[in-house]
């Protein structure tokens, strides 16, 4: 059976919610970062799928995807820098330990 648009959308939705679930439940910041990447990639899948099946004569979806990948890379670099700094000051990368910034 040839995979169609709906299959891809299904996968991307699944990926998205797995990401959201991971982001809410994990305490480890690196895992949370990975969850964010999952969310972003689910969006990428959506873009590619819609571009291919609905507007195959255009390239906009592709460009968006490339953009998102680049931004995700930059974001990962920043996030990892933050995580390293956090580890240096708190000796931990558990989000439960970093609640100083509140009212």
């Amino acid at each position: 059976m040839q995979p169609g648009l709906y299959h891809i959308l299904f996968i991307s939705t699944a990926l998205f919610f797995i990401g959201v679930y991971g982001f809410f439940t994990r305490r480890n910041l690196v895992t949370m970062l990975m969850s964010v990447e999952l969310i972003l990639n689910s969006v990428n899948l959506n873009f590619i799928a819609f571009n291919k099946y609905l507007w195959f004569d255009k390239m906009d979806g592709l460009f968006f995807t490339i953009f998102i990948i680049a931004i995700a890379a930059a974001e990962a670099a920043v996030a990892i820098a933050i995580i390293i700094n956090l580890y240096r000051s708190h000796n931990s990368i558990d989000v439960e330990q970093t609640e100083e910034l509140r009212y």
Binding site: V20, F23, F24, M32, V95, E96, T98, E99, E100, L101, R102, Y103
Partner: protein, 644 residues
């Protein structure tokens, strides 16, 4: 033609002194500041004399009339083609005379202060303030624009404030400087409104145009200003009365005189310069500057000037007879003499022989500056010697202070109007002018002149006679050369200034006015003056019981005069009881409970509300994410199902 650069230099040199000493004085110049300021002013004085010589004898007179020259004019703010605020210089007989008086007296005071203020800690600051004052006063007298005069008017007010409060660690001085500033400022509101009325009705702020527009009945401005009436008087009369209120505040006319006696808290040379010879005559100068308008367009405003002046003269003379602080006696005497100048202007008419009062007023201003500065500086020397202002600490000083004694005597004779000293001539002219135009004021003036002689010689005998030996046995000198030299120079001025044929130079319309000497007329005032002197001699030359008896026989009146007729108390009552209680307190209540209440309610409301919602900021990244997701889902639902 006048040399503009030199005239500008007269005015700007003291300003340069102020800036230099004000910024660098205490750091770099120290004790040399006095010499620096004095030499700058010496230059300025020389230029002023040179200008006066040039104006009066060379270029000033065209076809027998002294011209009003405007050698310098810079437009500062232009409102409309006719209406602009300029910074200019006007050169006419009065302003040239004032240039000479101000620079000369200021120079004398600068020199005197070299000795008097020698050991003062803030010596450079003192000279900086003197420079500021001199600059402002010179700027005031040459102003070519009514707004410019207002500008410098406030500047002299500020420098007077600074100098009265010079000893800022003395609470009485602080209170006095605030009082002086507030009272004159209050009067200046009148002046400002007057300026607005005058400039509105004449369409200009420039003095020459303003006078021209408001004195010739053909112009539209004149017709409109006369026609517009308010409470039975024309707009022009109101404007001039308001200007006179400002003048009365600065010149300490009743009932705005209360600041002048208190202003004696300043250093004595300052009193000589500001509160006797120059600043307080600014009011007279202002009325003289606008004199054609007063005389031609608003005789009723001029009448007011005359009566206020005459009343102030008598009122102050009575108080002066009872005061015991020598500087206060001189202060009331100043007020009384300025009253003379005011009513002399008030009884005068414009032009020709009828303008005698104008000439007499300016003449008296000139001679008064000489002898009153002399008297104040003499008093300063006495105070420097005995370290007290009170008469009871003095007496018998004539042998210890021979030069001061002699010069002070000349000053007293001059102010008492004894021939041939300066005051005699000017006072005769004033009395003659009053006699010709207003008999009632003439009698007031005559009584005042007897009182003047009495209280001045009371002062003189109390300081220099009254007892044989002053307790200060050891002779520690009258003060050095710097203190005696101004006294001698001013005494010469007070002795001979009367012989200047003043009417030839200064008159209401610029023409030559011959002021004759009338022997029969002079008998009465001179006799009364001499009588005053002899009564003072009889009462105060030796210590005796007569003054006490006289005071006791005039019990109620004496007490009232001693307490300055309770004017201060009246002001206190009005400000404290009426203004504070009826206006101040309700306003304070409104501010405290209504205005502040609104502000507080806003603040408290915000705080209470934020207390309930601040828990959302928990610091937990994941709960933020949940809010974010919930928000996104909420918005998505909103856009999908409700706002389609």
């Amino acid at each position: 033609m006048p040399n503009t650069t030199l005239i500008l230099l007269i005015i700007l040199l003291p300003l340069a002194g102020f800036v230099m000493l004000g910024i660098f004085g205490r750091k770099y110049f120290g004790n040399t500041s006095g010499v620096i300021a004095t030499s700058l002013l010496l230059l300025s004085t020389a230029l002023a004399f040179y200008t006066a010589y040039g104006y009066f004898f060379k270029y000033g007179k065209v076809d027998g009339m002294y011209q009003k020259l405007v050698p310098f004019k810079y437009t500062w703010l232009q409102f409309s083609p006719g209406l602009s605020i300029d910074m200019g210089i006007i050169i006419d007989p009065v302003s040239v005379m004032m240039l000479v008086v101000v620079t000369f007296v200021s120079l004398m005071v600068h020199v005197f202060s070299l000795g008097y203020m020698k050991s003062d800690e803030r010596f450079p600051t003192y000279y900086a303030f003197l420079g500021l004052f001199t600059f402002s006063m010179l700027g005031l007298v040459v102003s070519s624009n009514i707004f410019q005069i207002y500008f410098f008017w406030e500047l002299v007010g500020v420098s007077s404030f600074l100098l009265i409060g010079y000893h800022y660690d003395k609470p009485s001085a602080v209170a006095a400087c605030k009082k002086a500033f507030i009272v004159t400022r209050f009067a200046d509101v009148g002046f400002l409104i007057g300026i607005l009325v005058l400039s509105y009705s004449s369409g200009t702020l420039d003095f020459n145009t303003l006078i021209a527009n408001l004195t010739s009945p053909q112009t539209n401005e004149y017709k409109n200003a006369i026609a517009a009436s308010f409470l039975g008087m024309s707009a022009l009369t109101w404007g001039l009365i308001l200007v006179f209120i400002g003048a009365a505040g600065k010149s300490a006319m009743f009932p705005l005189h209360i600041w002048l006696p208190d202003a004696m808290e300043g250093p004595t040379p300052v009193s000589a310069l500001i509160h006797a010879a120059t600043m307080v005559v600014a009011g007279v100068f202002l009325v003289a500057r606008l004199f054609p308008v007063y005389a031609i367009a608003a005789p009723s405003a001029l009448n007011l000037v005359a009566y206020v002046g005459a009343f102030s003269a008598l009122f102050a003379a009575v108080i002066a007879c009872t005061q015991t602080d020598i500087k206060r006696v001189l202060a009331y005497s100043t007020m009384s003499q300025i009253g003379y100048m005011m009513f002399a202007l008030g009884v005068s008419k414009y032009g020709g022989e009828n303008g005698l009062g104008y000439t007499a007023s300016m003449f008296h201003l000139f001679t008064h500056a000489m002898f009153k500065a002399l008297l104040f500086l003499g008093a300063g020397a006495v105070i420097h010697f005995v370290h007290s202002n009170e008469m009871k600490d003095m007496g018998g000083l004539r042998k210890l202070m021979p030069i001061t004694h002699l010069t002070f005597l000349i000053g007293c004779l001059a102010i008492a109007g004894v021939p041939p000293f300066a005051g005699f001539f000017s006072k005769e002219e004033i009395l003659l002018a009053a006699y010709q135009h207003n008999q009632g004021i003439y009698w007031i003036a005559l009584i005042t002149s007897a009182l003047t002689a009495f209280y001045m010689f009371r002062l003189y005998f109390k300081i220099f006679w009254n007892r044989e030996h002053h307790p200060l046995h050891e002779h520690h000198g009258e003060g050095g050369f710097s203190m005696m030299m101004p006294l001698v120079l001013l005494a010469i001025g007070a002795a001979v200034a009367g012989f200047i044929p003043f009417g030839h130079f200064v008159s209401s319309d610029g023409t030559r006015l011959n002021t004759g000497f009338h022997l029969q007329f002079s008998i009465a005032p001179v006799a009364l003056g001499l009588a005053g002197i002899f009564i003072a001699m009889w009462m105060y030359k030796k210590q005796n019981a007569i003054p006490g008896k006289v005071a006791a026989s005039l019990n109620g009146f004496y007490k009232a005069a001693y307490h300055k007729f309770y004017i201060d108390e009246v002001y206190h009552f009005i400000t404290k009881k009426i203004i504070f209680n009826l206006i101040g307190r309700p306003a304070a209540w409104f501010d405290k409970y209504i205005v502040d209440g609104l502000v507080n309610a806003t603040g408290n409301g915000t705080e209470d509300f934020s207390a309930t919602i601040k828990k959302f900021q928990s610091g937990k990244v994941q709960s933020y994410a949940i809010y974010f997701l919930a928000g996104a889902i909420g918005l998505a639902l909103l856009f999908i199902y409700i706002w389609k």
